[in-house]
């Protein structure tokens, strides 16, 4: 899928939100979209998802099955969790049995089992966000677009997001993820697109794949341990107190 000289503004005569964006995502590719608040990350993702149409230029070769997880799941709807997911599965063209299987799989996988019959407006923000993630995965997407997917999720589900991303990529699907919390360190090997002032700067994945290792050190030796890791060329991302010790 590729964007050819894409320009977008929301109204005639208004300011350009995106200008001359040209980029490409290959099958199996993972792209992290970065940029400050209001830079146009969500706009770019909605263009790629097919929600918005470019004012100029084209988005070409968009895959048939697109899964989009919006930044905020629209929970103000009168459906139960399974009622909503079944309706979305039907919209995907899944038959009754296939829809039931897909809904059961993702309800189980995302820990939504206890919320099957709960109405969407009664869900917490994080649980609603899980429903948003589930609806995007009911049919295996060829293009998965995650707009700030870690917002409001519990630790277990935050760990599950990279797993899902890697699964989609391994199947040959493309994945775009926006993030402003630094969570995308969980996606080593991803290309980065940076949106700033309406333009897009792309960077290929780093050649040496990097991973994140969580290490517990004695509090008394914290400064020394951090210094030694840095001396050895490692990138210390953050230091936090161990919970539950």
């Amino acid at each position: 899928m590729h964007l050819d000289d894409v320009w977008l503004r929301y109204r005639r005569g208004g300011p350009w939100v995106l200008q001359g964006v040209t980029a490409r995502v290959d099958p199996g590719g993972i792209v992290v979209v970065l940029g400050r608040n209001g830079a146009g990350k969500s706009t770019l993702l909605q263009l790629i998802a097919g929600v918005l149409r470019p004012t100029r230029g084209r988005v070409n070769d968009r895959p048939a099955v697109v899964g989009w997880v919006p930044e905020r799941f629209p929970a103000d709807q009168p459906h139960s969790v399974t009622g909503y997911l079944r309706a979305m599965a039907a919209m995907r063209g899944l038959g009754s049995a296939a829809a039931t299987r897909a809904v059961d799989e993702w309800v189980h996988r995302l820990g939504l089992g206890g919320f099957r019959d709960v109405k969407l407006p009664e869900l917490s923000k994080g649980t609603a966000q899980k429903v948003g993630l589930a609806q995007a995965m009911l049919a295996p997407p060829d293009l998965l677009i995650l707009d700030e997917p870690w917002e409001g999720l519990d630790a277990a589900t935050r760990d599950l997001v990279p797993e899902i991303v890697l699964e989609v990529a391994a199947r040959g699907g493309s994945v775009l993820v926006s993030d402003h919390r630094g969570e995308t360190v969980r996606l080593p090997g991803a290309a980065t697109w940076t949106v700033a002032d309406g333009t897009l700067t792309t960077a290929a994945p780093e050649t040496g794949q990097r991973c994140v290792v969580e290490v517990a050190v004695d509090a008394a030796d914290l400064a020394g341990a951090v210094a030694r890791l840095r001396e050895q060329g490692h990138h210390v991302l953050r230091v936090r107190e161990e919970v539950g010790s």
């Binding site: 097919g50 929600v51 899964g67 989009w68 799941f73 629209p74 979305m88 039907a90 919209m91 995907r92």
Partner: protein, 229 residues
Amino acid sequence: MIALTRMRLHGFVRTGRAVAPLIAALAVLSILYGGGQAETVEAYGVSALVAFPVLAWQTKILLDVEPDVQRRLARVTLGSAAREIAAGLLAAATAGLGTIAVALAVPWVFGGVKGDASGVKGDAVSILIGLAVHLLALGPAVALGALSSRAVTRTAGMGAAVLVTGSVLAIVLGLQGSPAPWLVPPLMAATRLTTSGGTTRTALTLIAHATLWTAAAAFAYARLRRNRA
């Protein structure tokens, strides 16, 4: 597309938003039939005219129930803007058929119309004519309601302005001697046909006029919605 149509109808009913237009329809019908018994076909002609703004309002309410982000999700999930747009119009038309069924039944339940002198067969013909004249109003009403929906007009004020202006113009420009009756759906002409009579050719012309108006307004709605997900 049918799945999305069902989902939108479900939302319309389950949120209770279907109640307000139903009450409005019943209020209008009770005023219409409250003055005594009328000739069935004539009464249905006026009923279709007064049902027009109710059906348009009902369409706006139905389309506005769904949160904006869910509407966008539906577009991505279906993979087609055209099918997402069509599903909304289909849901509104289906809900409109329910309201029309109420409008056709109410005068019989409350004795608002005189039965046909020729008996059941005559009554059946009157009901069929009544259905036809209400269906003539349904297409334009759905199109007008869609044009006033939040996805197009963005604000509640603009939505109300489109809905009210469209409904008023449909009556004013439909009056006899109007300089531009073709600009609005032929609601007034259809009412005149049921009260004063007319030829089959006149009826077919009105059907063609209403169909063309509906198609033009629905096309305008679809064009506007292409860039307004």
